[in-house]
Symmetry: C2
């Protein structure tokens, strides 16, 4: 039974992004799945009250924290740091920093959320750069792999990648229950001479760091192998990881569009589509690594989960559920311990 | 009527890659689609003769050129340059260099094929780095976009990206018939401050270069937008482009696996799958931007098309067909002219 309190930024999206009603519905879905969890909802109080009234699963389990300011998707991180007071995003992070909640969930501007998270929650001792980790779906039923960084830091630095390997391995152990994770470094060929020199340096560093640690470094892997259950952790820089994630997202959307068109292409196909609809819906909901659950910020002293900007209620529920589960598993506390041990060793 | 001669490397793959029989079947499929095209098949003569005997569509239209050496998938480009004599890959390129064929097609080692192509065919005047361009499928029926570079050069240099924009625009005009192509630069956000400084420099350069040219530079786009018909040309460095392509390939394979499983999940779903099988097969054959047709080398004085290492007969036929079509359209000659005009301008 997951009995944690989750701080939710209810106004993270803007423009074409998820509405406050959608997010409230998402929290309600998460609440049904986690009957002992509680929620602090940050946003404009009047709108939140109206949305909450429609969700009886949240009765008595959600408190409203008035924070009517909205961080725009276009704001630069620097501007946001200066102007964050009163925004729903900053307030949700403050709730975690103050100990009122165990994790924050937001579908807002990623750069802003990371900058504010570093400001308000601080890095764990020894962490150079925090990373954003996502769980990527796999061809093996029930399996997922951790991919990081998918967008926190665009620089390609061997020592950062080496730390991502350790953090990703801890996440796979704690979050996915893989006792001895296989770790791969994303490159454009598995041969050791391929790719960029920084990747070759990083590979040597991770190889050395893996000695005596509880993960297995398998070397380079290519992006097509990410869903093939080749490794449990895929290490990459935030630029490359973000491109891989978005390319996968675009492909999933392309295929959904084609599938719809295929099932309209003839009476037989239409009948087939109707018969198979349940199975296809199930599949479709697992399609997208970016929207499926959310990105977990690793390397901070508090837990933050970034949900997709144009998420639907079910996807937001998955992000909230992931935050609750990972908080219950004490990911941050155990990650801090494991990083501490690395430093002492 | 496409009446060109295509040089084919029939032994480009190795290990788990496409067999000589598969490639021969692919050439035969292409031959049926292009009844005036002719083929020079490079490889071990005895094996090729046996494979050819089974393909009556190739009778009288394919000549065998004995070149029994195989370039391995693991060979480094440098080693290959020294040891390429007698390989089917080198022989196919020699046929183009000697004017016996208008294009070469290979499914071999990409790095080796590019290194040998530069050696044997030379760069076009003014070209700094050749690029590999692929046609990426789109949600808009019948449309595709050009994505380059997907693996020729891992460096991220603004002047290369600027030249890729011009070459990609020419390819979209000549190969796809788009008179005024929209060109985008791949980044991890569409806001101008996002991503890497080299991308911001490249964006400024392309923006300036587009003035008075016959393409429209639309700025940054994200990888999820590639199949969304947002642009006709996506410019990126070879590392990032390769990761995007492979991530799309992996996602397509993941979804195919899931679709198969979905259609086995219940008797109703199975019946649905049978009814919809034709539509799904059609869709599935268009799924994969990497396997669908092949990568076109741009910036050399001869035409080379790289097919996927583990291609099937239909995919290889698509690559051979693309080579024939693009050769007939005089892509290289017109690209050379357009680059020449840029230099004079």
């Amino acid at each position: 039974m997951v009995a944690v309190t989750i701080a939710v930024d209810m106004m993270g999206g803007d423009g074409e992004a998820a509405s406050l009603e959608t997010l409230t519905r998402g929290v309600a879905i998460a609440a049904r799945a986690q009957p002992a969890a509680r929620f602090l909802l940050h946003g404009a109080a009047a709108e939140l009250e109206a949305a909450l009234a429609a969700e009886k699963d949240l009765a008595g389990r959600a408190e409203i924290r008035d924070a009517p300011g909205v961080v725009s998707m276009d704001d630069k991180p620097g501007e946001i740091l200066r102007n964050s007071a009163g925004t729903s995003m900053a307030a949700a992070l403050d709730s975690v920093a103050a100990g009122a909640a165990r994790a924050a969930v937001s579908c807002g501007n990623t750069g802003a959320l990371m900058a504010l998270s570093v400001l308000k929650l601080k890095r764990l001792d020894g962490v150079i750069r925090p990373a954003i980790a996502v769980l990527w779906p796999s061809v093996t039923p029930g399996k997922q792999s951790v991919v990081l960084d998918v967008g926190a830091d665009v620089r390609l630095e061997p020592r950062n990648l080496c730390q991502f390997a350790a953090m990703g391995a801890s996440f796979a152990q704690i979050g996915l229950g893989v006792s001895y994770p296989r770790v791969g470094l994303l490159n454009i060929g598995s041969e050791h001479h391929k790719g960029k020199s920084q990747l070759q340096d990083a590979s040597a560093m991770i190889s050395e760091a893996a000695i005596g640690q509880d993960f297995d470094y398998v070397g380079f892997i290519e992006a097509n192998e990410i869903p093939m259950d080749a490794v449990d952790v895929v290490v990459t820089d935030g630029f490359t990881g973000n491109v891989a994630l978005k390319a996968a997202e675009g492909t999933a959307r392309l295929i959904k569009t084609w599938m719809k068109a295929s099932f309209q292409s003839s009476p037989l196909a239409r009948a087939g589509g109707l018969l198979a609809a349940g199975a296809l819906r199930e599949m479709s909901s697992n399609l997208d690594p970016g929207k499926g659950n959310g990105g977990v910020f690793l390397g901070l002293s508090g837990l933050v989960v970034k949900s997709h900007g144009s998420v639907d209620a079910k996807g937001f529920a998955a992000a909230v559920g992931l935050a609750a589960q990972v908080a219950e598993d004490q990911l941050i506390e155990r990650l801090a311990e494991s990083l501490q041990m690395d430093r002492v060793a």
